[in-house]
């Protein structure tokens, strides 16, 4: 890292018709540093990036790139100036080859025709720089999300970027893939590029960043060197509250004698989950741990009727139930908040009100519509109860930030007043403050007698909240551990080694 400043944003203001999204924010980026941009959802991180990349046009302040004032008019222009962005969602064409994706829009030409040889050769070179040994002539969709992510970074870097912006590039990557990405980032850093890094994972910030800038409610909180703040201080600065207040969570209280709410007896679907048995008591929080693809999502789907079981049986309050579709489960007061919020959760074009009322309405059937007043009351109630940040219940859900969308989906299910609530990765991709709030809500619901199934990849939150934890691996339940006594290391061992480690922990 040198001290040479490559980018300076001074007193940036962004006034939208209703809100001031940025109020006199300063930001500086040095050559060869990784600079984390932090803040809760809605703090103004994205808006700042959008001002820099020309998606939004700042209403005040200056942007100075290498000593020259610039004002990017659109992302294309920003790219020409040397500012490249990789967004959270991969903005590539899955049907084109890797090489085509990298060079789309700027294909090398020869005699007025596209020079395929050159494209593929240069794509190969570029991939080699990223230590990726892949066939660049195959369609992008053949490769994993991580590789696709690398390709979009490669594309961003290849256009002679001086500044690279990575907006939550790691939220869909596993640990090894994150490591690969960080190696690439370090190399780019060494070559003198300034990198702006946005993520919700605090560990990653400390691992890769040199400095950080914190925003809160559109204001600058401060810029710090990475060693100047501890994690706890950092979170406190981000949310503006003392962290203990939020993290002081109490596990649900369940007695031995509490009745079983839901029982699954040797259920399975061929090829997905072989055989799983579990039970949840009334008011209990049962955690599901395991890697992606270990069958935890499929198990949740079986309990909800989204995946039809081909063997075994499910009992609710001691009664055998047969869910053929989600509607059946909802009628029996089972609710399921799916993992992929965008694909399976939100109805983007509909308002917050309609999204919240949807499951209640679906249970009543369309012939018994909720009156507008009922819907308004329901929406207002949950917007207030969950602290959903929106100017109005009539705003489209697609326009909310991820954390707020998640709260709306949660509200949709809370409104059905379920007995069993299954939450699949409810805290993924949302910030620390919202995460803590969702955990608090889950535990509150347990207190009200709801049985909660909580699936998460983040072991610390599972351990913090669960009464018991079911550990899954390769479509099987390998162990069940007590949430109050087990450690992250125990669970990791079990996931890594399977049932043998489980016996040791139990013994």
């Amino acid at each position: 890292m040198s001290d040479e400043i490559i980018l300076e944003m001074k007193q940036i203001e962004m006034q939208f018709p209703a809100v001031k999204a940025l109020d006199k924010v300063d930001f500086t980026l040095r050559r060869g540093e990784v600079h984390s941009l932090l803040g809760e959802n809605g703090a103004g991180k994205s808006t700042l990036i959008k001002c820099l990349t020309g998606v939004n046009h700042k209403t005040g302040g200056q942007i100075i790139l290498e000593g020259q004032e610039i004002s990017p008019t659109n992302p294309q222009h920003a790219m020409e100036l040397g500012i490249s962005t990789v967004f959270q969602e991969i903005n590539l064409c899955p049907n084109l080859t890797v090489a085509e994706n990298i060079f789309i829009g700027r294909q090398p030409m020869k005699h007025g025709q596209i020079n395929w040889k050159e494209i593929n050769r240069r794509a190969d070179e570029l991939m080699a720089r990223f230590h990726l040994d892949i066939d660049v002539t195959r369609p992008l969709s053949m490769f994993s999300t991580a590789i696709q992510q690398m390709v979009s970074i490669a594309r961003a870097v290849d256009v002679q970027a001086k500044i690279l912006i990575l907006d939550e590039p790691t939220s869909s990557l596993d640990d090894n893939e994150v490591k690969l990405l960080f190696d690439v980032m370090r190399e780019l850093k060494a070559s003198g590029m300034g990198i702006i890094f946005i993520t919700h994972f605090l560990d990653q910030i400390y691992e890769i960043s040199d400095r950080m800038t914190i925003l809160r409610n559109g204001h600058l909180v401060g810029a710090y060197g990475i060693n100047e703040l501890t994690k706890v201080e950092l979170v406190t600065e981000m949310i503006g509250k003392d962290i203990d207040v939020i993290f002081n969570l109490k596990r649900a209280e369940v007695g031995e004698k509490d009745p079983n709410m839901l029982e699954a007896d040797h259920i399975g679907v061929p090829g997905k989950v072989e055989d799983i048995s579990l039970d949840i008591k009334k008011g209990e929080l049962l955690g599901f741990a395991g890697l992606l693809g270990s069958g935890r999502t499929e198990t949740a789907e079986m309990l909800f009727g989204a995946e039809k079981i081909s063997k075994g049986e499910i009992r609710l309050n001691g009664q055998k139930v047969n869910f053929r579709q989600p509607h059946d489960a909802i009628m029996k007061k089972v609710a399921f908040c799916p993992e992929d919020r965008k694909r399976d959760g939100i109805i983007g074009d509909l308002s917050i009100r309609e999204n919240i009322a949807l499951a209640v309405q679906a249970r009543r059937g369309f012939m018994r519509p909720m009156s507008r007043q009922e819907q308004d009351e329901l929406a207002d109630k949950y917007i207030k109860a969950l602290g959903i940040k929106t100017p109005s219940a009539e705003k489209k859900i697609a326009e909310l930030s991820g954390g707020n969308q998640q709260k709306v989906i949660l509200a949709r299910w809370m409104a059905t007043q379920p007995d069993v609530l299954i939450l699949d990765e409810p805290t993924r991709g949302i910030d620390v403050g919202a995460k803590a709030e969702i955990q608090r809500l889950m535990l509150e619901m347990c207190g009200d007698g709801v049985s909660v199934v909580f699936i998460s990849s983040e072991l610390d939150e599972i351990i913090r909240c669960s009464n018991r934890i079911v550990i899954m691996r390769d479509g099987k339940k390998v162990a069940e551990v007590d949430g109050a006594t087990c450690t992250q290391q125990d669970i990791l061992n079990i996931i890594a080694e399977g049932a043998k480690a489980a016996e040791e922990v139990e013994a």
């Binding site: 579709q325 694909r343 109805i347 074009d349 509909l350 309609e354 679906a362 009543r364």
Partner: protein, 354 residues
């Protein structure tokens, strides 16, 4: 109660506004060229309203009725290409039932072989089932709506031909004539039927939660299913309903000509209905829809056709002329144009308040 604030920029952003503006503009041109275009009188002999405007509404009935169903189909993110063919099936079936005796006794007259209620009921049931068939292919078979409905679009006319052994029947049965050529008081019957259907549809989608379910499934089928909506059921109902509406349109059409014409009945109706929906502001990608918009859209299409006839534009140029006007209407409704006017009115409002 919240009171709605009058918001000019919201109005200029709405597609329906621009559809209405377009309709008024076209009518205005008509008025400038021929002031008598707007005259409405009562025909002394029959007591029925008479005039170009009445004619436009009357003649738009079939497309409007079909387009009501098409709106829901498109809101689901689909298309239904088979409606035109179903118009032909419905007409052929009605005529077949009235003229079952055509082989022995081949003079058309004021009679029907099968009871009148069957003449009305069977074609409608058939068309509803054919719509349901479309829905099954799409919901259960997972086919693209375009391909699934193409099957009946192509084969429907063949079925209509088979029903009547490839012959064109005519009838003079007067109750049947009432549907397309009769009147209720001073109002032509097709208008009455159309208005009743529009009102019923409006009630069905907005006074129940069906409209919300359609929008929800249209935007995100997977999320809707996981929220407890039986997406398949919604799809089946919508396509069956559209089949039924096409059947009703088919009865009106064949009653107008008192004959079945399997080759020409309902030709291009699917395109006009889709167009009416799109002009009415419902996006082809599915989601939010507007039945009122569709109604205006259908009127626009018919106004253009009448305009073309009325002003004696050479028949070879009719299609091109129609296309030209529709292109202008669609451009008027496009995102950039609406955005431009909305920005202007916002700026004006800002100046006023400053």
């Amino acid at each position: 109660m919240k009171t709605k604030k009058f918001n000019w920029s919201q109005i200029t952003r709405s597609k329906i506004t621009w559809a209405i503006v377009a309709e008024i503009l076209i009518l205005l041109v008509c008025f400038i060229i021929r002031p008598d275009f707007f005259s409405i009188s009562i025909q002394p002999s029959t007591g029925v309203l008479y005039g170009s405007l009445i004619d436009i509404v009357n003649r738009s009935a079939e497309i409007t009725i079909i387009a009501m169903g098409m709106t829901l189909v498109i809101a689901l993110g689909g298309t239904d290409l088979s409606v035109g063919a179903l118009v032909a099936v419905s007409g052929a079936m009605a005529l077949k039932l009235m003229r079952w005796d055509v082989l022995e006794y081949n003079t058309p007259g004021d009679y029907t072989v099968y009871p009148f209620f069957l003449v009305l009921l069977l074609p409608l049931v058939t068309c509803t089932l054919m719509g349901l068939f479309n829905g099954l292919l799409i919901a259960k078979g997972g086919m693209q709506p375009f391909i699934a409905t193409l099957i009946l679009m192509v084969s429907g006319r063949g079925i209509a031909q088979i029903l009547t052994n490839g012959k064109q029947f005519t009838t003079m049965y007067s109750p049947f004539r009432m549907i397309g050529q009769g009147n209720l008081g001073p109002i032509p019957m097709p208008i009455v039927i159309m208005v009743v259907i529009c009102i019923l549809m409006g009630i069905f989608v907005r006074k129940t939660a069906f409209g919300t379910f359609v929008e929800s499934v249209g935007v995100n089928r997977s999320a809707s299913r996981l929220s407890g909506i039986s997406s398949d059921k919604v799809i089946l109902i919508v396509y069956a309903l559209t089949g039924l509406l096409a059947g009703i349109a088919g009865l009106i059409y064949s009653s107008r000509i008192m004959s079945n014409d399997s080759n020409n009945a309902g030709i291009n109706y699917e395109m006009d209905a889709i167009l009416a929906v799109v002009i009415g502001g419902t996006a082809m990608t599915g989601g939010k829809f507007s039945l009122v918009g569709t109604f205006v859209g259908s009127l626009i299409i018919r106004t253009i056709v009448t305009f073309v006839y009325y002003f004696g534009i050479v028949s070879e140029a009719t299609m091109a002329f129609k296309a030209l006007i529709i292109a202008v209407v669609i451009v008027l409704q496009s995102e950039p144009v609406r955005e431009y006017f909305a920005k202007r009115s916002e700026a004006r409002a800002a100046r006023k308040s400053a």
